[in-house]
């Protein structure tokens, strides 16, 4: 039993390590959100409560503008929900990986599903439950903790310092995600995103949802016509000293993640590089 518990702790620690890059990326954004919230007149405790329960940076930052402008609370909430509609397809995409766990764990993991946790979840073919908890709770704690820090720093932090934190995070993640697209097609895909955003702005409040839907449709169609996805990374020979089959050859792993899941910014572990079934690649 002790060995099993130790193995579970090890997997949880691997999940924490896997998520450290993303959690660190949350910090400037979380600090920015906390600081901007108190600068906009929101009580600090409410800003932290929003991070605990809503846990969606873009929506939270968008709501501050509406609330500060005196919008009706339900209008502000509707705006957050529109921004958060992307969680529906993300949940649908990650659902098959999580349905094998019981309802209690699914309920907890769902609450902590974010863009980054989603991308990290997809980078490991068959993640264990402790590994997933390690990822999700690390990100959640980083977000809530950095919000609290931002609440404390808000009165003294210049707003310009934090203004680019959220765009910077999204740009970095998007560039990473583009690694799942064949090299010469990446500028075209990025250009398609700009066009999708520009055109969808005509729809007002539903712009982001329509842009995602349109771009997804375009990418799906393009993938059917051209070889859009980048090929999976070249398999390195198994380390001779490991004494284990390559990770990809183990029964609980598919040969590779689906070819080039573009939301999973980096490839998985090099086959044979580690015996841990939850072993991530570069934990970014």
């Amino acid at each position: 039993m002790g060995g099993a518990a130790e193995a579970e702790h090890g997997r949880a620690r691997a999940g924490v390590a896997h998520a450290l890059g993303a959690a660190a990326g949350y910090v400037p954004v979380g600090v920015a959100f906390g600081a901007i919230a108190v600068q906009a007149g929101m009580p600090g405790g409410l800003a932290v409560l929003m991070s605990v329960t809503v846990y969606a940076g873009a929506a939270q930052l968008a709501s501050l503008q509406a609330l500060a402008a005196g919008a009706h609370p339900l209008v502000a909430a509707a705006g957050m929900l529109l921004v958060n509609l992307r969680h529906v397809p993300m949940s649908l995409a990650v659902g098959p990986r999580l349905r094998r766990f019981d309802r209690r764990h699914r309920a907890l993991l769902a609450q902590t599903l974010t863009d980054e946790a989603f991308a990290l979840d997809l980078r490991v073919p068959a993640p264990s439950l402790p590994f997933l908890y390690g990822i999700h709770l690390t990100c959640w704690v980083a977000w809530v903790g950095s919000t609290a820090a931002g609440v404390a720093l808000g009165p003294v932090l210049p707003a310009t310092w934090t203004a680019f934190a959220l765009p910077g995070l999204f740009v970095a993640l998007a560039v990473e995600a583009l690694a799942g697209v064949r090299g010469r097609l990446r500028p075209l895909v990025a250009g398609a995103a700009v066009v999708a955003v520009a055109v969808s702005r005509l729809a007002g409040g539903l712009a982001d949802v329509l842009a995602v839907a349109g771009l997804t449709a375009a990418l799906t169609a393009a993938a059917g016509r051209w070889r859009l996805a980048a090929p999976p990374p070249t398999a390195a020979p198994a380390a001779p000293h490991a004494g284990l089959p390559p990770a990809d050859a183990r029964a609980d792993h598919p040969p590779h993640p689906p070819p080039g899941p573009p939301g999973a910014p980096r490839s998985g572990p090099a086959p044979g590089s580690t015996p841990d079934p939850d072993a991530p690649g570069d934990p970014r």
Partner: protein, 105 residues
């Protein structure tokens, strides 16, 4: 800002967002998950969020400080720099560009 109103907004948004996060994890959503389109949603979401975040309200064209910071972050991310380094460098570039570029830009 009304604290009570903000609390209502937070609770409603939290409940709705949780429902969205939970929808795919139910055992009844199997039929929705087989499409090839699902593979491309993460990329589409991240690209749209990135373009929206760096663009101005009127057009998807960033301001000069934002464009400079975006270029730096994109370059660092493409070279696989750590995420935190990319974001912090972008923030620093934005602050510097905002301070030094002519206000007319």
């Amino acid at each position: 800002m009304s604290a009570t109103g903000a609390l209502v907004a937070v609770l409603v948004a939290a409940a709705g967002t949780y429902a969205m996060r939970l929808v795919g994890l139910s055992r009844t959503s199997h039929r929705l998950t087989g499409g090839r389109w699902l593979r491309w949603i993460p990329l589409a979401v991240l690209l749209v969020l990135a373009v929206t975040a760096v663009s101005t309200a009127a057009t998807p064209v960033p301001s000069p400080p934002t464009a400079m910071a975006t270029a730096l972050v994109a370059t660092l991310a493409a070279r696989r720099a750590p995420l935190l380094l990319s974001v912090l460098a972008g923030c620093a570039a934005y602050v510097a560009a905002t301070a030094w570029l002519p206000a007319a830009w």
